[in-house]
């Protein structure tokens, strides 16, 4: 790990099911110092937090509850990036479970309709024109469309990225999206300084 003086300390939230290795490696390749965090005290020391959720909504939420992290995440005031399930958990509720989520962004998470191919897997073109790698079967439906920053077309319009204040969410995987992902991660880290 490259540790530089004054570089922001990016935390990667440990999760019971998710594989955090990919995001760790991405940051490492970009020369960004990061550490894996799991407790409120560790989270408190970070300048930015990445939540690479993987797995299903209900067990991951239960795990966060067991570790008393729900309030800690809700009150997190530095830049926060939820990836895939990590984005979905920012919303009020998810049909996957069903589960009550963090409730940071108003809205719910619903299953992709039967009319589109599921899972939405592969490289899709973002409304920014760049390609990004997606793997998911559930999608975010924000109450307030103003939180939507990027969309993507897969038979229906899918919310590809959201932001509310310091909380950012990506439905796609920046750690697997080649240069598009590398760029997003380095931009996000700039905000953490």
């Amino acid at each position: 790990m490259i540790v530089r003086l004054h570089s922001p300390q990016i935390g990667i939230l440990r999760s019971s099911t998710g594989n955090i290795g990919s995001i760790e490696r991405s940051l490492q390749r970009l020369g960004i110092a990061s550490c894996v965090v799991g407790t409120a005290a560790e989270i408190g020391k970070t300048d930015g937090l990445i939540f690479p959720g993987a797995g299903a909504a209900l067990p991951v939420m239960n795990d966060l509850k067991d570790r008393c992290l729900v309030e800690v995440l809700r009150n997190y005031s530095k830049p926060f990036l939820g990836i895939c399930l990590g984005m979905q958990l920012l919303f009020d509720t998810s049909e996957e479970g069903p589960a009550d989520c963090l409730g940071i962004i108003r809205g719910k998470v619903v299953e992709l309709p039967g009319t589109v191919r599921k899972p939405h897997m592969g490289w899709n073109r973002l409304s920014t024109g760049e390609y990004a790698y997606f793997v998911h079967s559930f999608v975010c439906a924000p109450t307030d469309s103003r939180v939507i920053t990027i969309t993507v077309q897969h038979g229906i319009e899918i919310v590809a990225a959201v932001r509310k204040e310091n909380f950012f969410g990506l439905q796609w995987h920046p750690e697997k999206s080649g240069e598009t992902g590398d760029r997003f991660l380095s931009f996000f880290v700039r905000l953490c300084k």
Partner: protein, 504 residues
């Protein structure tokens, strides 16, 4: 065409500068909030709020975000003036601004604007270009930028901006009429961009001229401050000239066809032969992975063809080394017998694990993997061979024919939780004579999960056929890539020429 009243604020007062000159200030009271309210009542949807203090000093004033917050309770606000960095953009957006207007920073640090567009969305950022004759001026019009208008607009577009506000300095605050020729030419050259005109609008007929030039919006300042009686007629122009929304195009699907080089590995080396025999060495897997990644591969598949239990550690180590080296997804398969095998590969850094023979022997393996590791990580590899007008499933690298119908197995695999099917035609594998498009199309029809075509990739046309006839979501090949018959990019170009979406 939207009409956007401007509210320029200097030290708390509503002002206008003549041609950006801070020595020539006209004040219009100290109540921007009431003004915004009046504009909203007259029909304005949005106001253009500028912090002139910050535009000059480069310091976003402490009370400006508060002003933004207050105004957004009345009307949409696009706010700007002296934005220096990403955090200030966020500050104004968080204060409620619908968009942040960025001028100087766009030309000085385009990368920051690019990051703002990426992080906050392209609707949230407006590029502002203040043009004086041939040159774009920056820092409150006091400095030159060495950019002409068109190269500055091109730069803005490269940064991902969709909306550009162009102010003609020579006309601004002069009441001499807008430079409609300039705007019309710009809109014609950049039809994909929203162009907002600013500077010199005096009358409704000026607005009509701009509207006919197909401008998307116009910012109006001095005219409305000088003569509030114009308000109603100015806002009325929005209704008369509001363009009819084009009928919404049917939702498309921009999901790209994936091109996947496959690396068969044994003992830490890549090999590929004909009909699963006749191995030839084609290099180091990690070096090849990096090469394919740089070449534009969408994904990689590694198949461990040793498939003896004593080789497991090598392949786990391979997963870890590949994960260190590439920033695209990859799948590992071959010899995966249990959920523990799959878990160790995922933990080492693989994105997906493919199971083949073990799942045929015990289909519940797919269910356990899907439940414990996730469907998205679970790939079912199916080796099929034509038999009696159908296809049967082969296991153990093609050595054993199970007699199981490949269609039935594909459906069953999906039902049990496989997130993707990797379908290899044993008849075609290694022959280069083309994918078994009948097999692919039949399976594709039965399942909803993505289908990867494998076995038979030869000429570029065979790849196009796998997608066109076989309706494959992804196409996998080995030899043609390893031995440099053509590149991943060549395949993508061929697919693009055949009108299929690819990531190029």
């Amino acid at each position: 065409m939207q009409v956007i009243p401007a509210i320029d604020v200097l030290n708390g007062k509503v002002v206008r500068l003549a041609q950006g000159d801070y020595a020539r200030v006209t004040e219009y009271g100290d109540d921007p909030l009431s003004l915004a309210r009046a504009y909203r009542r007259a029909g304005a949807k949005r106001v253009h709020l500028v912090d002139l203090t910050a535009a000059r000093t480069g310091n976003l004033g402490g009370c400006f975000p508060e002003l933004v917050r207050a105004l957004t309770r009345e009307v949409e606000v696009q706010a700007g003036g002296g934005i220096r960095d990403l955090k200030e953009v966020q500050l104004l957006l968080d204060a409620g601004a619908s968009a942040v207007v960025i001028g100087t920073l766009l030309l000085r640090q385009p990368d920051v604007v690019r990051s703002a567009v990426t992080l906050f969305g392209k609707e949230s950022i407006i590029g502002a270009l203040d043009v004086d004759g041939a040159e774009v001026r920056i820092a409150g019009w006091r400095q030159g930028s060495a950019f002409d208008l068109r190269s500055a607009v091109r730069l803005a577009r490269e940064c991902g901006l969709r909306r550009i506000l162009v102010t003609d300095i020579r006309r601004d605050g002069m009441g001499s009429g807008p430079n409609s020729g300039l705007y019309a030419a710009l809109k014609k050259q950049f039809p994909g961009l929203d162009i907002t005109a600013s500077g010199g609008v005096r009358s409704v007929s000026d607005l009509h001229v701009l509207s006919e030039a197909r401008l998307d919006a116009v910012v109006v300042g001095k005219a409305l401050l000088e003569d509030p009686s114009l308000l109603a007629s100015f806002m009325g122009v929005q209704e008369v000239f509001s363009p009819v929304d084009p009928p919404r195009a049917e939702r498309g699907d921009d999901l790209a066809i994936r091109i996947i080089p496959c690396l068969d590995v044994t003992g830490g080396r890549v090999v590929k032969g004909t009909s699963f025999g006749n191995l030839r060495d084609a290099g180091d897997p990690v070096e090849l992975a990096k090469r394919y990644c740089a070449e534009g591969a969408d994904e990689l598949v590694f198949l461990d063809i040793t498939a003896t239990s004593d080789g497991r550690d090598t392949v786990v180590e391979l997963a870890s080394r590949v994960a260190d080296a590439v920033n695209i997804p990859f799948t590992i398969g071959g010899g995966v017998r249990s959920v523990a095998d799959a878990r160790s590969l995922l933990e080492a850094g693989a994105d997906k694990v493919a199971v083949n023979s073990a799942a045929v022997r015990d289909p519940s393996l797919l269910e356990i993997m899907a439940n414990e590791l996730g469907s998205a990580n679970t790939v079912c590899a199916i080796d099929a061979r034509r038999k009696d007008g159908g296809w049967t499933v082969l296991v153990c690298g093609g050595r054993d024919d199970t007699g199981i119908d490949a269609m039935a197995w594909a459906e069953d695999a999906e039902r049990r939780g496989a997130g993707e099917l990797l379908v290899t035609s044993f008849d075609r594998d290694g022959t280069g004579t083309g994918f078994d498009t009948d097999l692919l199309a039949r399976i594709r029809e039965k399942v909803s999960v993505p289908v990867i075509a494998s076995g038979g990739g030869g000429s570029l046309g065979t790849f196009v056929d796998a997608v066109r006839l076989g309706r494959a979501d992804a196409v996998l090949a080995a030899s043609v890539f390893h031995f440099g018959t053509f590149s991943v990019r060549d395949v993508k170009t061929a697919l693009r020429d055949a009108s299929f979406p690819v990531r190029l």
